[in-house]
């Protein structure tokens, strides 16, 4: 199926006058079949007029009339470095789970370009609301990757400060964060932080599955009617656990934006340059008060949904193999070699750095202390609740009783 199969259904006004002046439009050959519609959802994986791309899968630099970007060789190398390092600690997280060190891991493999492109477009005054796979965005917000471990090892629910990092806590309930982000963006607007080059914006991350959630729909309504500086960044990785894209939608996701009255753009999510360019544009629109914007980053989840998942049950290896050819890191590597004189020494250097990061990540994981039992009760409320305090005291007192037993045994009771 070629992308041409996804064309908008013929509008009655476009049709030849057949003398009918009212009633529903007659069925025409132009109306796509169900199969054609579903094929159209995936069609732009091969490129197409509605896909913003600046770097082809072969590493060739192409231009786009609306979303070009001028980056130095050093900046391109930095983007490459970001993607390699993020992939490296993501793989380490996966391995740590397999070795029983983490309860679960959520792989980002294959989505590095979408996340680094979007993450590097954000400024310090901006706010990002992640779902739970946004390790690459966390990296761009300056979080140390080790800060992500606590959630997956089960020592905390997020150890970083959302306000100072500009990176909200991971959100597990699908789509909740879209509304939280819409509210935050409304606050930026109410604070008068919108309207010029120095304006602030909010970017919220969610997947294709989340677009079926009411909260994401409501976030688009709220963002639209309050003209909030909100970039809705959908990583369409084609699968919501085992549910394919056609189980979420019958229109390409970016086209939904039109129904809310703001721009929707589909970008090649495996192209870090395009992802960066489109994100910068969208954030800039928001800074100037022209938000919201919906970005659909067309990408692919190369690994499982989480380490509890088995994608071989629901998707074919052909699909995976096809997407391997669009790898976001490889295409930038080829481009750097061909056009920017990147030599082996550079790639070796990045590789060495990534290995060091992975080792540090692993060591940190092993050395994470057991949380204090008091953490169960701490910071439940800003103003402590007497009942919670009493329950804490009871548990800690109970546990203290155990601590005395070894000493008693040493005393030679027997």
């Amino acid at each position: 199926m070629s992308p041409e199969h996804w064309t908008r259904p013929a509008h009655p006004a476009d049709e030849p006058d057949n003398g009918v002046t009212s009633g529903p439009p007659a069925a025409t050959a132009a109306k796509p079949t169900r199969e054609q519609v579903i094929a159209g959802l995936r069609a732009t994986s091969e490129g197409g007029a509605d896909l913003v791309q600046l770097l082809t899968p072969e590493g060739e630099r192409v231009t786009h009339p609306d979303f070009d970007i001028d980056l130095t060789a050093a900046q391109l190398r930095d983007l490459y470095r970001d993607m390699v390092l993020v992939r490296r600690f993501d793989r380490e997280g996966n391995a740590l789970q397999r070795q029983g060190q983490l309860g679960i891991w959520v792989p980002l493999l294959g989505q590095e370009a979408a996340q680094i492109g979007a993450g590097r477009a954000l400024r310090s005054g901006d706010m990002a609301f992640p779902s739970y796979r946004e390790h690459g965005v966390a990296w761009c917000r300056g979080l140390d990757p080790t800060e992500l471990l606590g959630i997956f090892r089960g020592t905390d629910h997020g150890s970083w400060d959302p306000l100072s990092t500009g990176f909200h806590l991971y959100t597990i309930v699908i789509g909740n964060q879209a509304l939280n982000a819409a509210g935050y963006a409304m606050g930026q607007k109410f604070d008068g932080k919108v309207g010029d080059d120095d304006g602030e914006a909010t970017m919220v991350f969610f997947g294709d599955g989340a677009t079926s959630q009411g909260d994401v729909h409501e976030a688009m309504v709220w963002g639209s009617v309050y003209d909030a500086p909100l970039v809705l960044f959908c990583q369409n990785n084609q699968w919501a656990i085992s549910e394919p894209l056609e189980r979420q939608t019958r229109v390409p996701l970016y086209q939904r934006a039109a129904g809310y009255g703001f721009p929707g753009i589909r970008v090649d999510g495996n192209d870090v340059l395009a992802s960066l360019a489109v994100s910068k544009w969208a954030l800039d629109e928001c800074r100037h008060g022209n938000g919201p914007v919906l970005i659909e980053a067309f990408t692919y989840r190369m690994d499982a949904h989480t380490t509890t998942d088995d994608p071989t049950r629901y998707r074919l290896s052909d699909e995976l193999e096809a997407w391997k050819l669009k790898d976001p890191i490889e295409r930038l590597r080829v481009h750097l070699v061909r056009e920017h004189d990147a030599d082996q020494a550079f790639f070796d250097e990045v590789q060495a750095e990534s290995d060091e990061l992975a080792a540090r990540f692993r060591e940190f994981c092993f050395s994470m202390p057991e949380p204090d039992p008091g953490r169960i009760f701490s910071e439940v409320y800003a103003d402590p609740s007497p009942a919670v305090t009493a329950q804490r005291d009871e548990l800690l007192g109970y546990l203290d009783g155990f601590a005395e037993q070894p000493a008693a045994a040493q005393g030679g009771v027997h």
Partner: protein, 344 residues
């Protein structure tokens, strides 16, 4: 069973300066509370469906948008998850949103955001993110409304760690409790007994208010204790007046705070009276009244002269309005429970 009348606490404040005291309905006192909070803190927002030009379906927000503008008093799109979810985001940004849910039965689309985000963000962030959000919920029956307009879902929220749940029962508490809830850095579910919106009392806005998360003895008595909250407080006070005419002095406690529960005054009272009757419109199973029953038997086991008895709604969906007189605890059902308690 004659017992001497003891101190009676009126719901109005004492020592009021005449010019600071007005006779107001509860709807008006809530309006005054919101107005005062909007005036004092530019970060306070009022948001919900119809809260602006219309002034809310019960007119609690009447005139606020006109005076504070549409960015302080927000007429929102019609979606409860959206109201709560954006309030969470505004709170992260440093605002103090006061959300209005039009009716109790409409809170469920917002329940996900309340439970999943609002309740948990302070804990998850280890205190780095504050959630000073108030969710106002007109609740309970007795106004002859169609279905989904007369429910008592407060126990569902009291069960959730991270939330605070309160219910006012009179205009004076309504004013002060709302002010204090807005000042609180924790999320507060604020249940307003809608059939009491237009009952009046004298409100002194310069008085010293009692603490928010505390129950309050409204009437002293020795024969038995009645603990209640929200719409059934006036019912129980009326029952106590009726009992007093027959020489039975009942102690009446307004719980006010449902999470955390302030049961100290209840324990103290039960230790004196030996008897406890609980009244609430909510279905009894897994409710505020079942929680109090459990804790009283745990704390006051040797003081009890009778089992704890409950006068409540039933474990059914709220009935059609022609039947609600049988569903809602009324004066006779309360007195019947008191008689059964005294007969042990």
């Amino acid at each position: 069973m004659a017992a001497p009348a003891m101190e009676r606490t009126d719901v109005t404040n004492g020592s009021a300066r005449p010019d600071a005291t007005r006779t107001v309905t509860m709807a008006k006192s809530l309006n005054m509370g919101l107005r005062s909070a909007l005036e004092q803190d530019p970060k306070v927002l009022v948001m919900g469906e119809d809260v602006g030009k219309l002034g809310g379906v019960f007119r609690v927000t009447d005139g606020l948008q006109k005076d504070f503008g549409e960015h302080r008093v927000l007429d929102t799109p019609l979606a409860e998850s959206g109201i709560i979810g954006t309030a969470v985001g505004l709170a992260i940004r440093g605002y103090r949103p006061v959300c209005e849910i039009q009716f109790d039965g409409f809170i469920f689309p917002g329940y996900d955001q309340i439970v999943s985000q609002l309740a948990k963000l302070h804990f998850r962030s280890q205190g780095k993110v504050k959630m000073p959000v108030v969710v106002r919920v007109p609740f309970g029956g007795g106004i002859g409304a169609v279905e989904h307009h007369s429910e008592s879902p407060e126990s569902l929220f009291a069960h959730i760690g991270g939330l605070k749940v309160v219910s006012c029962s009179n205009p004076v508490d309504a004013y002060w409790m709302l002010r204090q809830a807005i000042e609180c850095d924790d999320p507060v579910l604020f249940f307003e007994p809608k059939r009491r919106y237009y009952e009046k009392a004298e409100l002194n806005t310069e008085a010293q208010p009692p603490p928010l998360f505390a129950s309050r003895v409204l009437r002293r008595g020795t024969a038995a204790t009645i603990a209640t909250y929200g719409p059934t407080v006036p019912t129980c006070l009326a029952a106590a007046n009726a009992a007093a005419e027959e020489g039975t002095e009942l102690e009446v406690i307004d719980l006010r705070s449902l999470s955390p529960l302030d049961l100290g005054p209840v324990f103290e009272s039960v230790r004196r009276t030996g008897r406890l009757v609980l009244a609430s419109e909510a279905p009894p199973e897994s409710s505020i009244t079942s929680e109090i029953t459990a804790r009283v038997q745990q704390e006051c086991f040797y003081s009890l002269e009778a089992p704890v008895l409950r006068v409540t709604g039933f474990d059914v969906p709220y009935p059609p309005t022609k039947l609600e007189k049988h569903f809602l605890p009324d004066l006779d059902r309360v007195l019947d429970a008191v008689d059964r308690s005294l007969a042990f």
